[in-house]
Every structure is written in C-alpha cells, then in structure tokens.
C-alpha cells in the first residue's frame, strides 16, 4: 500500500522536507508572532503617561526570577530536543547512500556545465556553457547518483526535490533520489555553489518520464549513438 508522497519504500526527499518543515515553520512562526505580540503589548501596557496627573506608578524593582527562568530554560531545552529528535530521524532517511540497486547516474560538474553519464545504459547527456543538458530519469524509481567535480566546488541542486549536495574536486559523493511525478522542469537543476564567471547560468533541465517512455528514450539514444 502506498501512502501519499511515498514511493515503494524509497525516500522521497521532498516529502521528508515538507514533513520536517511542517514542524519547524509553525513553531518558528509562533515564536516570531509571540515575541512581536509581547513587545507591542508590553510597550503599550507599560507606556509612560506624563500628561496623566493620576499616574503615580513607579517602575517595578523586581530584577530577578531565577525559578521562572530555570523553568523557562527547561522548556527551551525540550523544544530543542524535540526539533533535534525529528531532525535526526529525517536525516537518517534522506542521507542514506546510494543503494546500488537503482538506476546509476554519474553527475560531473565542471566550469560551467553539467554532464550526466548513465554507465549501464552507455548514455551520456552532455551540456555546454550555452546549452544546458537534460537529466532524464524514470518516475518512481530510485536513482543512485554519484557526484564529482573536475575543477572547483559546485553544488548539485534540484529545488523540486528539496535536495542539494556539494561537488568537491577530488571527492566523490553518493546519494539517492526518487522522482514521483512525471514532467519537465525547465532549469529544474542548478549549481548553487558560486563557481566563477558563468555560475549564474550553470543549470540543467529535468525530465521525469514514465518507465515505458524512459525505455523508449533509452533505445532511441542507444540507437542514435551506434
């Protein structure tokens, strides 16, 4: 049985992100609103009224409340613990390395374009500085990415997947993503680590196709290359 956002036991990074953000954002918004509200409320409630002859009020001389503050620190610590517990749980799922059973794609970043190798399919999607390549992947299947850089540090970012990873020269990093929905994302992938002159335009397109369409694309590409 498939739950919304889940694909056959594979981590949907966007779903994980949305779940975790669904905890952080409301807490953060509540804290911001509470602080703003208290600042405005205190400023209004305790404002000086020099024109009011009845005002005989003297500012409070209570300057410490160690027990209240200790209790409050305990609450803060509990909030921190809750956030960390959820973060660790989700990170365990998003971070699992390439399973090796999915479709392998080798991503090569270099100034200032991308290249996608599908080693087992013997297909290469090569971009140039002026023509971004398209990352073509089948929907609902694990894609095992291997990421490397040939020159400076780049970063591989697919905003729709809520995921990015640095491409450091001399270092290979592995991660798995799954793309649940078919579609075409124009400039759906970007370099997000500043890498020099044409960093602005170092992008790629993302095409997520049905498994059948992917098989057709594979055959066409292999036939075309032969």
């Amino acid at each position: 049985m498939r739950r919304a956002g889940y694909v056959a036991g594979v981590t949907d990074t966007r779903h994980e992100y949305d779940t975790l953000a669904g905890l952080y954002v409301p807490i953060g918004a509540a804290v911001v609103l509470l602080v703003a509200l208290l600042v405005v409320a205190f400023a209004w409630r305790y404002r000086a009224r020099p024109d009011d002859p009845d005002e005989q009020r003297r500012p409070s001389r209570i300057h410490r409340a160690p027990r209240t503050e200790a209790l409050y620190v305990l609450v803060l610590a509990c909030v921190a613990a809750l956030l960390l517990w959820r973060t660790y749980t989700v990170e365990g799922r998003t971070d699992h390395a390439a399973s090796g059973r999915g479709l392998g794609v080798l991503v090569t970043a270099s100034k200032w374009h991308w290249r996608f190798d599908y080693p087992r399919l013997r297909i290469v999607q090569r971009g140039t500085d002026d023509a971004p390549p398209t990352l073509v992947v089948p929907a609902r299947r694990t894609i095992d990415f291997t990421l490397r850089s040939l020159d400076v540090i780049h970063a591989f970012w697919i905003p729709d997947r809520r995921f990015k990873r640095d491409a450091t020269p001399g270092f290979v990093s592995s991660f798995s993503l799954v793309f649940p929905r078919t579609g075409f994302w124009r400039y759906g992938g970007e370099c997000s680590e500043y890498c020099g002159l044409r960093h602005t335009w170092m992008k790629f397109h993302v095409a997520v196709v049905s498994p059948a369409a992917f098989a057709r694309w594979t055959r066409a590409r292999q036939g075309g290359a032969a």
Binding site: H63, E69, V73, Y88, R165, E193
Partner: protein
C-alpha cells in the same frame, strides 16, 4: 599609555584631522574608528543597491557577470571585515572605559595602530577596482580552489587578501586592548559581576575575536601563499581544510558583530523602561554559553559537503536557541511593569527584538541538515543572515548611535527625524529581505546576476529591489539628522535619558580624563540607577 611620551614628557596635543589620526585618547580613537567603519558601511551599501538594481528584472542590465561577482564579493567582505567588526570594536573602544570608570584605554597605541590598519586594509581591498582585472571576485568566503590563481588570476584578489590580513589583525589587536582595559582598569567597587551589560557583551565579543580571528589570519595567509607559491592546499582535503579553517572564524564573527549591539539594546531597553536590566546573572551566563557554543557550530556551513558530522553540528547549532531564549526573556522582563518612554533608541531596540527573532528562528531552521540541504546557498540563506545582520546588528547599531550620540557629541539628534528613520528602516528592511525567503525556497540560488524569465521570480525580485530604495531613503534621513544635529548643536547635558551607568555621570562629551569629579559609588551594574532608586 595616555598622551605621555616615551621620555615621560607630555607632548602638545595636535589639532586638526592629523591630530585625530594620532590621538591615543580612546574617545577620539573610538569615534575615528567608528566613522571609518560607517564610511565603509555606506560604500558597501552602494554596492548592494547596484546589485538590487541589476536583479530587479531578469537579464543583465547594468553590468557584466564579472562586475556582479566583484560587487557581491566586496559587499560581503566590506560589511564583515571593514564595517561590522570594526564598528563593534569601536563601540567598545569608546564606551568601555567610560562604563567602567577608567580614564583611558589600555595599550591605546596598539589600538591606534589597529585603526590605521583598518584604513589601510580597506583602501588596499578597494584598490582592486582600479586594477585591470577588477576587484576580488571570489565571494567573501573565497572557497579554495576557486580562489586559487588559475581560477581567479586577478591581482584584485591578492589585494583583497592583504586587506583582510590587515583588518583581521587589527581586530585582534583592538580586542586585546578592550579586554585588557576591562580586566585591569575597572573603577574601585566595579567587580566583574558589576560590569554594565554592554561591557559584558564586549567581554564575550573580545574573547570571540581573540579565539576566532587568528583562524582567519591563518586562512588568508595560507591562501596568499597558495596563490603566490603553491603547495599549500591540494585535492579534496585541501578544499575541506580551507572550509574548516574559514568557518571556524566565519561563524563566531557573526556573533562578534552582533553581541555589542545586544548590549546596546539592553542598555536602551533598561533606560527607557526606567528599570535595570532583568536577570543580570543568567544573562551573563547566557552570553558566555553563547560564545562557547559559537566556537563549536562552524560545521553547519558544511552540511552539504558530506565531509562533516552533521548530527554533531546540528546539535550545537540547535542548542543556541537556549541562550538566545534567555536573552529574549530578560529583554521582555525588563519592559514588564516598567515606565516606557518611546525615544528613538528604544524604537530601534524594539525593532531589533522583532526582526532578529526572524533571523534567529530561520537560523534554527537551517541548523537542521535535511532542511539546510534545500535552502543553503539559496536566497533563503541570504534572507536569513540579513535578518540577523541588518535586523539585528544594524538596528542595534542605530539604537546605540541614537542612545550615545548625545554623550559623544554633546548635542541632541532630532526625535522627529529619528522616528522617520526608524519606520522607513523597518518597512524598507522587511520589503527588501522578506521576499528573499520565498525566492530561496522556490529555488533561486545566491550569487547570480540573472534568472530565467520562466522562473516566476520577477515580482518578488522587483519588490525586494523597491525595498532597497526605501532603505536608501531611510539612510539619507539619518545622515540629514546627523548633519542637522552637528550644525544646530542643541546641548544635550550630561544625562539626557536618565542613564544607569557611569558614562552618564560625566559631561557630554567627556573631558580628556573622562571623570574629573569623584565617581559615584559602584555597588551594582547600574550605579546611577542605584542612586535614583535610593532617592525615590
């Protein structure tokens, strides 16, 4: 040393700007360093405006890609190295001796050399614009290998490194002077747990400068050696080593440029609530905890590298919400049952509380690796740190300027213009930076001069650029206020606000020896408030 020369002869004090440049009086020095830093703030602000003009619409209108790279590099670097750090330390150089009842700054000549080094470093860094290949274009954290010679051959980058070496060394020297002053020159009765709140924030600021800035000096020294000679960094470990070294400095620096202004808003809130600062001891403890944690969170800048223990750095980063929460508690508790007067310094202090909490909560957000994977290096991060640095540090800086301007110059600023300045800044700040959260969330990376027309980012970018024009206007209102105050010279008197600490017990501006009359007794961190409460 005061103005007494090596032979024990008191030299004739020089006049004019040359005299100011050579003065070891901590007030002339503090004001001079402050003005220098503020000049760099305006210069870096102009660069930001140019960037926002460029980003208002897709495609390139004003500049080349390379020009844009120079702008964001010099904007960030100038703001951090030449404005925020020097301005934070300058506030300490001016105010700390006055707050602790001292007549001078310890090792004032060393601090004076620091001021010269900031000026020299800044000029050298900006001289890059005059070279054939332009100014540095490597970003303010200049990751290796992008910052290496083959990738960034412009000599502007070498100038930039030398400029940072000078400014960073200056920061270490000045911080040593301020800390030594606090440790050795306190007035009788002023124990460490009777230091004013602002002075305590300077203690932790100096501790962080002394521990973090050497890492920057090393990083820049190695980078210069790598560029000129090679053989320092190599391979992936070189790339990661540089990042560790840089962020070991690069995170604490955010608190270095923030804490003095926490101290400033704390003083403002206490004074204008007619109450002393609430929960002094927990507050001091939270400052020390904050400083300690600040040295252990640097890896959160590297969550996406796969080369750090993400869970550890997520733990330390999230833990920061505890000391930050204590500080908010104390600020609100100080207002509680106070008698609040809405002077301009308080407006900026309250603005700080409301804006910084947005920067703070989004900071906890990016302290979670799975969330950071999406938003790091995007405009979300740009929005986040501008809420901490502009909403926090700059709002706090203006609170400090409005609070202490009468003390420093002896004249009052216009409250009416001050309110205009405040509200324009509040509106402009939010209009400029709030849309950036959404742009980043939707996928706009930072450090791009252009974005695709199909992206749907035009409106938010246009709104943000319009906001930056409001910020320009707000700053012009401030400069007008300053110019009017200096021309009209409405006398402020020694204590226009009902101050609580020793600087308000001497004339405005203070005389060269600071306290010609005997000091009031120091029995707490708010000695003047003690007198006031005893009298009523």
């Amino acid at each position: 040393m005061t103005a007494v020369g090596a032979a024990g002869v008191r030299p004739r004090p020089r006049r004019g700007w040359l005299g100011t440049l050579a003065s070891t009086d901590h007030k002339a020095l503090g004001a001079g360093l402050f003005t220098t830093a503020f000049g760099f703030f305006l210069a870096a602000g102009v660069l930001a405006l140019l960037m926002r003009f460029e980003l208002a619409r897709p495609r390139l209108q004003l500049m080349t890609l390379h020009g844009y790279d120079e702008l964001f590099t010099l904007h960030g670097s100038t703001m951090f190295y030449l404005f925020a750090t020097p301005v934070a330390l300058a506030s300490g150089v001016y105010l700390v001796p006055l707050q602790i009842g001292a007549a001078r700054l310890r090792w004032a000549r060393v601090a004076l050399a620091g001021w010269w080094m900031v000026i020299a470093g800044g000029l050298i860094m900006w001289m890059g614009f005059l070279t054939a290949q332009g100014a540095a274009d490597v970003g303010w954290y200049s990751y290796w290998p992008l910052s290496d010679m083959p990738n960034s051959p412009g000599i502007g980058t070498d100038y930039w490194i030398v400029g940072i070496l000078l400014a960073a060394s200056a920061a270490i020297l000045i911080a040593a002077c301020v800390l030594a002053t606090i440790v050795t020159l306190r007035a009788p009765g002023m124990t460490m747990l009777r230091l004013p709140v602002f002075t305590w924030t300077m203690v932790v600021t100096c501790l962080m400068v002394l521990t973090a800035f050497p890492a920057l000096v090393v990083a820049m020294g190695l980078l210069l050696a790598q560029r000129q000679l090679g053989g320092v960094f190599s391979g992936a470990s070189g790339a990661f080593d540089y990042q560790h070294l840089f962020w070991f400095f690069g995170h604490p620096v955010v608190y270095v440029v923030f804490f003095p202004f926490v101290g400033a808003i704390a003083e403002a809130i206490a004074i204008f609530s007619g109450r002393r600062w609430f929960g002094y001891r927990p507050f001091v403890l939270s400052l020390l905890l904050f400083a300690a944690l600040s040295m252990s969170v640097w890896g959160h800048h590297m969550f996406t590298t796969s080369a750090v223990e993400n869970r550890y750095f997520s733990l330390t980063s999230t833990a920061l919400l505890v000391p930050a929460g204590i500080e908010y508690f104390d600020a609100l508790a100080t207002m509680w049952r106070g008698r609040i007067r809405f002077a301009t310094p308080l407006l900026f202090a309250l603005g700080f509380l409301v804006l910084f909490v947005i920067g703070g909560t989004t900071g906890i957000f990016v302290g979670s690796p799975p969330l950071d994977y999406h938003v790091t290096d995007s405009y979300f991060i740009v929005a986040h740190f501008h809420y901490t640095l502009f909403g926090g540090s700059v709002m706090g800086l203006f609170a400090a300027v409005y609070l202490w301007w009468p003390k420093v110059t002896g004249t009052l600023l216009s409250e009416r213009l001050g309110r205009w300045h405040f509200w324009l800044t509040m509106v402009g700040m939010n209009v400029t930076f709030f849309p950036l959260f959404f742009l980043g969330w939707e996928g706009m990376p930072r450090r791009v001069a252009d974005y695709p027309r199909s992206s749907g980012w035009e409106t938010l970018n246009a709104v943000s650029s319009a906001g930056s024009a409001l910020l320009l206007i707000s700053l012009l209102v401030f400069l007008l206020n300053v110019a009017r105050s200096l021309r009209r010279r409405v006398p402020a008197g020694p204590d226009p606000w009902g101050g609580q600490t020793l600087e308000w017990a001497t004339s405005s501006p203070p005389p060269p020896e600071n306290f010609p009359a005997p000091l009031p007794p120091v029995r707490s961190f708010a000695p003047l408030q003690d007198l006031r409460e005893a009298a009523s």
